[in-house]
């Protein structure tokens, strides 16, 4: 009895010491790290919901990343090592995102994680990546205003989608905008920027309205739109709501000729789910459409359909998921197989370029976001987009868009060694 208790206390003391220093790698982490090191594969975590509410779109990101890994491995892998994908299903719930992220980092020792779709899920895992100093590549367009040392954002930020889009709509369709979005941060942030752009370019907001997330009944909203008589309905609805909204819009007899819907988020995937006839004539602004004419895109679309089915469509978010996988492979190659997170974050990934389906893309050297192309598409009868406008060049990402925050940006090249904060600069 006496013995046991003493042992227990001793163990407890040791563990406590470990716990106290856990922010730096604790004893647990060290013990676990020792177990795996000399594998012949490069482990990469894939963290996208395969079930639950967000899976309707997030599964396609998972698919695209697996496709890219398959292609890379078919060409001999990275420096002769195959990439091994470790797939987790966080079930569209933030608590599982965090749990699975921890599992991938701490137990599986992945080199980096490709994952997340919603901002909620990204924000839930970021503290994990920051604490354990691991790498996350995040492929979704999002509301920006964020800079994490441990995260690389390969999707569009608002300035890459809206800056040209809103003035173009004002000029070609009309100045009166009716804003409708799902009730959370992304639509609210996007609409703030849209309103700023409207103010700048002589447009006008006739109404701004939000629907509960997952809401699929829009008859009331449509009646309101009809009464308000705007020129453009600017929608940042997400998920199911997109599909229900477009369908009911058409059913209530409003066509794109009367009042077109313009959106930075409706992709080919949603159009497939609503039926092309419900989307005809509506506008989307994106970096990538399936109809983009590049040899890389032809290959990408063909490979995707070959792997997942002829009736599949590609979309902008999964395209980012696809090329960010290449970014990671190239970065490891550049570092000659060194997978130390600091090396990846400071040398491997920044400045990395890739000839993506949308055109040549590049991770910005300073702010961890990605240089992308801007396009405006109009949905046609085949469920594809006729591309009306393509930007002359790739566009630099502004995590803090100049319209709203003229003086803010973030810069990770100025980080003092060993420090991970103080990266956000405010020019005065």
């Amino acid at each position: 009895m006496e013995l046991t208790r003493r042992d227990l206390l001793k163990g407890a003391a040791a563990a406590t010491a470990g716990a106290a220093t856990f922010r730096a790698p604790s004893i647990f982490v060290r013990r676990l790290t020792q177990t795996s090191a000399q594998d012949n594969t490069i482990k990469v975590g894939i963290l996208h919901s395969l079930s639950g509410t967000i899976a309707i779109i997030e599964r396609s990101l998972h698919n695209a990343e697996l496709l890219a890994i398959e292609e890379i491995n078919a060409k001999g892998g990275v420096l002769g090592k195959k990439i091994e994908a470790i797939v987790e299903d966080p079930k569209s719930e933030v608590r599982f995102f965090k749990e699975k992220a921890e599992k991938l980092i701490l137990r599986d020792k992945v080199v980096a994680v490709l994952g997340c779709y919603t901002s909620a899920s990204r924000q839930s895992v970021l503290p994990v990546f920051e604490k354990t100093n691991s790498v996350l590549l995040y492929p979704t367009l999002y509301e920006a205003q964020e800079c994490s040392y441990n995260c690389f954002y390969t999707g569009a930020v608002p300035n890459q989608q809206l800056t040209d889009f809103v003035p173009w709509l004002i000029k070609n369709v009309g100045p009166k905008f009716y804003l409708i979005g799902s009730n959370y941060i992304y639509p609210k942030e996007t609409n703030r920027e849209v309103k700023a752009l409207l103010a700048k370019h002589g447009g006008q907001t006739v109404a701004e309205e939000y629907a509960p997330l997952g809401s699929t009944e829009f008859s009331t909203t449509i009646n309101k739109i009809r009464a308000a008589k705007p020129n453009v309905v600017f929608s940042d609805l997400v998920g199911d709501s997109i599909v229900a909204f477009y369908k009911q819009y058409k059913q209530f007899g409003i066509t794109a000729k009367d009042i077109p819907i313009a959106t930075p988020i409706t992709t080919e995937e949603e159009i497939r789910a609503m039926g092309p006839e419900n989307a005809i004539g509506h506008f989307t602004s994106f970096n990538y459409f399936q109809s983009v004419k590049t040899p890389q895109n032809d290959r990408f679309v063909k490979a995707y359909k070959a792997k997942y089915g002829e009736d599949r469509v590609t979309n902008a978010v999964m395209e980012a998921a696809y090329f960010q996988t290449y970014f990671l492979a190239q970065a490891i190659e550049k570092l000659k197989g060194n997978t130390d997170p600091d090396a990846l974050i400071q040398e491997g990934l920044p400045g990395q370029e890739f000839q993506a389906p949308q055109g040549k893309v590049k991770i910005d050297e300073k702010n961890h976001h990605t240089w992308l192309w801007a396009r405006i598409g109009r949905a046609n009868a085949d469920g594809q987009f006729d591309i009306l406008v393509t930007s002359n060049t790739w566009i630099r990402p502004q995590p803090w868009t100049k319209v709203l925050y003229p003086d803010k940006d973030c810069d990770f090249t100025k980080v003092p060694k060993g420090s991970k904060s103080g990266t956000i600069t405010t020019k005065t």
Binding site: L8, G11, A12, A14, A15, T16, G18, A19, F22, R23, S26, F28, V29, R31, L32, L50, S51, V87, E88, D89, K91, E93, V94, R95, F96, K98, E99, E102, K103, L106, R107, T118, S119, A120, Q123, S124, L126, P127, V128, K131, Q145, E146, C147, S148, Y149, N183, Y184, I185, K188, E189, P212, L213, W400, K408, C410, S421, G422, T423, I424, T426
Partner: protein
């Protein structure tokens, strides 16, 4: 010691062994599994509180996550306010939480300032949830709302709160929830705190359910009307136990938030409540032990299965769940305890007035 717990000698030894097992688990398991077990213990406390109101009293509440989530939001907000005050976040602004900046707030609202002190926020959260449960309890039970009506009312309440949390995003973080604050993830001390609170709650629940009070609760579950005509003001008993359970849930939620580092609307919505009911049903309701076993078993199975069979794990969980419901109506522990009790009863010939662990069949709600 034996007198204090009301356990028999062998039960006490088992209990201490289990506690000791949980105590030393982190020394061998690694940070990830330790954190996970810490979270499971928070779920265990939540399940205990559900067992009190459902297993013992027969109130099926599909809204108990309100109190769990509510407690979590108090702590989450407090830690976030603290963190924001001292850290420049990756969103640029310091001093106030990022979601406030996004929503155009330039300073912390006056009414929220006391929450900056977590030692205020913690008891405040628990008391607030207790008060809320008291109010909801009064409006529900004084009106003799029971059974499925109670379930749907609590479900509606839960949906209202989830929607409110999402809607009032300037103060709650909205859909994204509250993330990015200093959590106690990886802290062994904190794990032990959670373990201690869990043991305390178990002790408390046993105290509540093995006294005459507990027997009255069971009589209410068995036949509410009969108890009323025996002079028990049933509504008061229900309100009391509902409030106590809500406060336990709030504590569990607070610990959960402090450990997990995220609070989201999903912690307040009906899905968590329904999950909790499932844990209790699987473990065996009205047994306390069963609810704890159920929570760990289901969460553990979910976690392990989803690691092994990412694609079909919920199918497995569904089938397992149905099998247990059909084949073991008393839940896993219920079935075990019933058998043990039969043996003891036969051996003793006579039973004490109050059984150590009760086994139930059909609550009449």
């Amino acid at each position: 010691m034996i007198g204090l717990t009301g356990l028999s000698r062998s039960q006490l030894i088992i209990a201490l062994a289990v506690i000791a097992g949980f105590f030393v688990f982190p020394l061998y398991a690694g940070a990830f599994r330790t954190d996970q077990l810490g979270l499971f213990l928070c779920y265990v406390m939540f399940a205990l509180s559900l067992d009190l109101i459902w297993g013992f009293t027969g109130i099926l509440s599909l809204g108990n996550a309100i109190y769990f989530g509510g407690g979590a939001y108090f702590i989450g907000l407090a830690l976030k306010l603290q963190y924001a005050a001292t850290h420049a976040t990756r969103y640029g602004e310091g001093a106030i939480p990022d979601f406030m900046t996004w929503n155009g707030l330039t300073e912390i609202p006056r009414w929220m300032r006391p929450l900056r002190n977590v030692w205020f926020a913690a008891p405040a959260g628990v008391l607030a949830m207790g008060f809320l449960a008291f109010v909801f309890g009064v409006i529900t039970f004084k009106r003799h709302i029971y059974g499925v009506y109670c379930a749907v009312i609590t479900l509606a309440e839960s949906l209202i709160f989830e929607e409110l949390i999402i809607e009032k995003q300037a103060y709650t973080g909205g859909f994204n929830g509250i993330t990015d604050y200093d959590s106690y993830s990886g802290s062994l001390h904190f794990y032990w705190v959670i373990l201690a609170v869990t043991v305390f709650f178990f002790w408390l629940s046993r105290k509540l359910t093995t006294t005459h009070f507990g027997m009255v609760l069971r009589s209410i579950r068995e036949n509410e009307l009969r108890s009323e005509f025996f002079g028990f003001e049933v509504a008061n008993y229900k309100i009391f136990v509902f409030t106590v359970a809500a406060m336990m849930s709030a504590v569990a939620g607070g610990l959960y938030a402090a450990l997990n580092g995220i609070v989201s609307h999903q912690d307040i919505g009906p899905i968590l409540s329904i999950e909790g009911v499932i844990w209790v049903a699987v473990g065996g309701r009205g047994t306390l032990i069963g609810s704890m076993v159920g929570a760990i078993l289901v969460k553990g199975a979910q976690s392990l299965l989803s690691e092994q069979f990412a694609w079909i794990w919920d199918l497995l969980v569904g089938f397992m769940f149905i099998l247990i419901i059909v084949l073991m109506p008393d839940g896993i522990m219920g079935a075990l305890l019933r058998r043990a009790r039969r043996r003891r009863a036969i051996a003793a010939g006579r039973m004490p007035a109050y059984e150590a662990a009760r086994i139930e069949e059909t609550p009449t709600t």
